[in-house]
């Protein structure tokens, strides 16, 4: 069975500080991976997707970047946090590019002060 793990569960960070969020998928080779962002009480907005190691496509520019250093790992980061980065970050995966069932991790709640 496939499992998806996100870390950390929650972060409180200062404006201007760096950030790194991680996501690992186990039990599935070469998954399509996604980062989503959700403002408090808002909808989900796709940020990045990756279909293979080393390849990441940006969907929405929010002064964030993403990398896929390994087949089972997806990293979201920034060197300088903004207040507007606060929210809930979710990693997700599915098997194919034609939008099969999407499975989400449990998310990271980020508060920028």
């Amino acid at each position: 069975a496939q499992t998806i793990h996100q870390w950390p569960v929650a972060e409180i960070k200062a404006v201007g500080s760096p950030l790194s969020l991680g996501c690992t998928i186990k039990g599935k080779s070469s998954p399509n991976l996604y980062w989503y962002w959700q403002a408090t009480g808002g909808t989900l907005q796709q940020l990045f997707y990756s279909i293979t190691v080393g390849q990441v496509e940006s969907v929405v520019q929010l002064n964030l970047s993403a990398s896929r250093p390994k087949d089972d790992q997806f990293i979201l980061s920034t060197e300088k946090l903004l207040l507007s980065h606060s929210g809930f970050y979710l990693c997700a995966w599915h098997r194919g590019i034609s939008a099969e069932t999407l499975y989400f991790g449990s998310g990271t709640r980020l508060t920028v002060l």
Binding site: N32, Y34, G42, T43, L44, Q45, Q46, Y49, I51, E57, V59, F88, L90, I97, S98, A99, E100, T101, L102, Y103, F104, S106, G107, R109
Partner: protein
């Protein structure tokens, strides 16, 4: 305007009653997914649909790509059905477009 419009935005149900949620699309959707986000934030996939209908227990969903809408029917609502329901439209690319959600509260 919103590419995926969900209605209603909020709903309160008595336990044991039935209801329907709706998504209207102004983009060309080839697939639809429905999710439930629980109070802790976890998103659970309820349905993945191509045009047609699916049923799972007390939930039933339909997707009409020609009329550009999808519905989610909840039968005999239970307290654990509470949360926010999102629909998401899938097109020919890798992007899913989410609606703003319907916040459902089931009361005893």
């Amino acid at each position: 305007g919103d590419k995926v419009k969900q209605s209603p935005s909020a709903l309160s149900l008595q336990e044991g009653t039935n209801s329907a949620l709706r998504c209207n699309f102004s983009i060309a959707a080839t697939t639809v997914q429905w999710f439930l986000q629980n109070p802790r934030g976890s998103l659970i996939n309820l349905f993945y649909l191509v045009p047609g209908t699916k049923e799972n227990g007390r939930l039933k969903s339909a997707f009409d790509s020609k009329e550009s809408y999808s519905t989610l029917h909840i039968r005999d609502a239970q307290l654990e059905d509470s949360g926010t329901y999102f629909c998401a439209a899938g097109g020919s690319n890798a992007k899913l477009t989410f609606g703003k959600g319907t916040k459902l509260s089931v009361k005893s």
